[in-house]
Symmetry: C2
Subunit: 436 residues, 2 copies
């Protein structure tokens, strides 16, 4: 489609829902995205498309066009999205853009730039609709009518004269009470709110737990400063899930920005792989130390991959369950003990089953019951140890403040390989006279 038919495309773009245009962008590489983005003439549509894209991509798309247009497009966007894009720009460009913007806008944006990207302050929108508690219902309705296009009015937040958050109302509630009543007499006083520095993951968990459509954000003094709406929460949840999944495999969500650029992607994945590589070398060194045993009983070698592999699988399962448990709030430090003992028991049961199976296979294959015993025992122990290692490594990294999703896998894998082989070679050396 994208071969020269530009005038036609321009027409299609004008007619399409901006969300659909944004959706198409996800399938294109940066070059095609640039071409298509330049065809969008309406700054409002461009702004919408940019809010829906990764903000890194957004910054890259904007860098190529002139600064006046950038500013225009950014001014059409909600402040929170504009801030995220500016964050991803080279510093010089960002400062120039802030200079061109009108004072009011740039003040607002510079304020937002102070919050950490992954906190309530970083994802909130500041165009929030609030009402003073001393208004009557009639006045409130008039205020709603004049409000214009504020971000999704469904909860009406009520503040006092100093902008402290004191209550909440639904629009429907306004319609069902007498117009002369004061807001402070009908509002609900228990408002669920978060401070600007609360982690975005926690914000998402609150919204999910209480089934609310938005959560007001307040500063240290409980003054209303913003609103996180449920669509922001959906983005956060999706992003965090993708991030966790990528991290567990040793990849990074960042690579989504690079489209099909193999070198940049390889560079993101390599550190994790090289860590694993050195773990593998240590394992190899360990085997070399036992070369005498191995040379005597070559059959032992053939079970090495299955023992280390199964240990890796079981350790991976435990680690995955703990990492996901931390992310969804299902596991915390207080339940960790129980989880540890559960995984220990599960590992023992699975180890017994797999150990017995592989023991019988080894016996049947090489007609040596001692070989079956050694392989089976090593498998059972290795799997049990791996299961507990998965829990211990993840919780250890969580405790010292390193993201367990990324750190645990190379560590668990190497530790498992080493303990698995030690157990294997240990029992093998013990039974060596019977294995010859």
């Amino acid at each position: 489609i994208r071969r020269g038919a530009f005038p036609h495309l321009t027409k299609v773009i004008v007619k399409s829902h901006p969300a659909d245009i944004a959706h198409i962008f996800r399938y294109l590489d940066l070059k095609d995205q640039r071409t298509l983005f330049n065809l969008i003439e309406n700054p409002e549509t461009a702004a919408y498309v940019l809010s829906e894209l990764d903000h890194g991509t957004g910054a890259q798309l904007l860098e190529q066009i002139d600064k006046q247009t950038i500013t225009e497009v950014l001014q059409e966007m909600p402040y929170d999205d504009a801030v995220d894009i500016i964050r991803n720009m080279p510093e010089e460009l960002a400062e120039e853009i802030l200079g061109i913007m009108q004072d009011e806008d740039s003040d607002e944006i510079e304020q937002l730039l102070l919050y950490d990207e992954d906190t309530a302050g970083g994802i909130m929108s500041t165009e929030i609709f609030s009402l003073n508690q001393d208004l009557t219902v009639q006045e409130a309705i008039e205020a709603v009518q004049q409000a214009g296009d504020v971000e999704m009015v469904f909860y009406l937040y009520v503040t006092d004269d100093d902008n402290h958050l004191v209550g909440v109302l639904s629009l429907r509630q306004l319609l069902t009470v007498s117009p002369a009543r004061l807001l402070k007499d009908i509002m609900v006083r228990e408002v669920i709110s978060v401070r600007t520095d609360v982690d975005q993951e926690e914000v998402a968990q609150l919204v999910a737990r209480y089934n609310i459509l938005g959560i007001p954000v307040v500063d240290d003094a409980n003054r209303l400063v913003g609103l996180v709406t449920v669509d922001d929460v959906i983005d956060v949840m999706r992003q965090e899930a993708t991030e966790d999944i990528y991290k567990m495999a040793g990849a990074s969500e960042e690579e989504l920005l690079y489209g099909y650029k193999a070198f940049k992607i390889a560079r993101l994945r390599l550190p994790w792989l090289v860590t694993n590589l050195f773990g593998g070398v240590i394992t190899g060194y360990l085997m070399w130390r036992f070369k005498a045993t191995l040379a005597e009983v070559l059959a032992l070698i053939t079970f090495i991959p299955v023992i280390t592999g199964m240990g890796g699988n079981v350790g991976g399962q435990s680690a995955t369950i703990v990492v996901r448990g931390f992310a969804t709030g299902r596991i915390d430090m207080s339940t960790l003990r129980q989880v540890f003992f559960r995984e220990l028991r599960v590992g023992m049961i699975m180890g017994a089953v797999c150990g017995l199976t592989i023991g019988v296979v080894a016996f049947g294959w090489h007609h040596n019951p001692y070989l079956g015993l050694v392989v089976g025992m090593a498998m059972a122990t290795a799997m049990t140890v791996a299961a507990t290692m998965g829990v211990m490594a993840t919780s250890f990294f969580k405790r010292i403040g390193i993201d367990p999703a990324i750190a645990s896998s190379p560590f668990v894998q190497t530790a498992n390989d080493i303990t698995g082989l030690l157990i294997y070679f240990g029992t093998a050396t013990l039974f060596l006279p019977h294995l010859r």
Copy 2:
């Protein structure tokens, strides 16, 4: 806390937000959940707690109490949640409950039971507020005032005389136009809706893409039958993400229902592990075939774990990226070709880096340049092959309709081990004279 202090606990329960009670439930095992659940006296609170829990757990909690109370609690719940719990009950009990319920309720529920659990029909709520297009704005406002506690009124869906969905309005819109106008003249006619049989994952993607708070569900004839709200979508997204993460590690989300029951959990994880086990045995058999080569050059053995391990890592990365890409809609069959070649290039680059590293390590360690060459070449090829295998296996399983998240890992791992070793032993045999 939970040792006998029941009267106190009962008081705490009465005072707490039902969402918080539900949250506590997630940290308890089934026995404690039962105890706590029986302390909840108010059927409304009980109903709320149940809607928030896994529906399997909900069914288990209800099974122990008398049928009259079950019925009462279920009648307090939104139909869609009640249906999900009934689905998880033993068939006999479910039928008895439906018998006790009032005709109206049980008709509604039996209707919903016809939809597949994972479709729009299965997650929608049927208590939907809609207005006839021939009403005036004034009449519509009155209808909203009298509506009572319908599930979240923020969009007002407009229907014709035959209940066909024809438009949508926001509550705020009603307040800003003249009271005498007809709804059909002010409503927005392009309504984003889904049919009852649309997969829940697709529903979630639509809601996320268009940033809407709910999506109306229609039958084959475009008649309005229900509404999927954004809080349902959040649950779906979280559930699907957890499911995918668990599956990739060979575990199952079902095990969350079993709390700390090790045997049941082990049974869920074992099939996947045993598949891997047999893959490992095949790898072992392959090594046995090359035992002559191995016996001659023992140093070769020490690099086996690192070569198979790194292949597994790279294959896992590609597979993870494709599985997640399918889930979020970022990758589909049309972009698969590009993804394949990207992963191929990434695999080649990473293979070159890791191959060079391990080659130098092998050379330095055993002072044999040919050993370095063999190990390095095998590593580079194995990693490249693994990267493409990760894409091919996942898309193959997707194409034949098997969930790639669960099927690809054992397959990718075994295939990688085998190709990795074949390449390794192949090059080793070729250079054997130089390795001795």
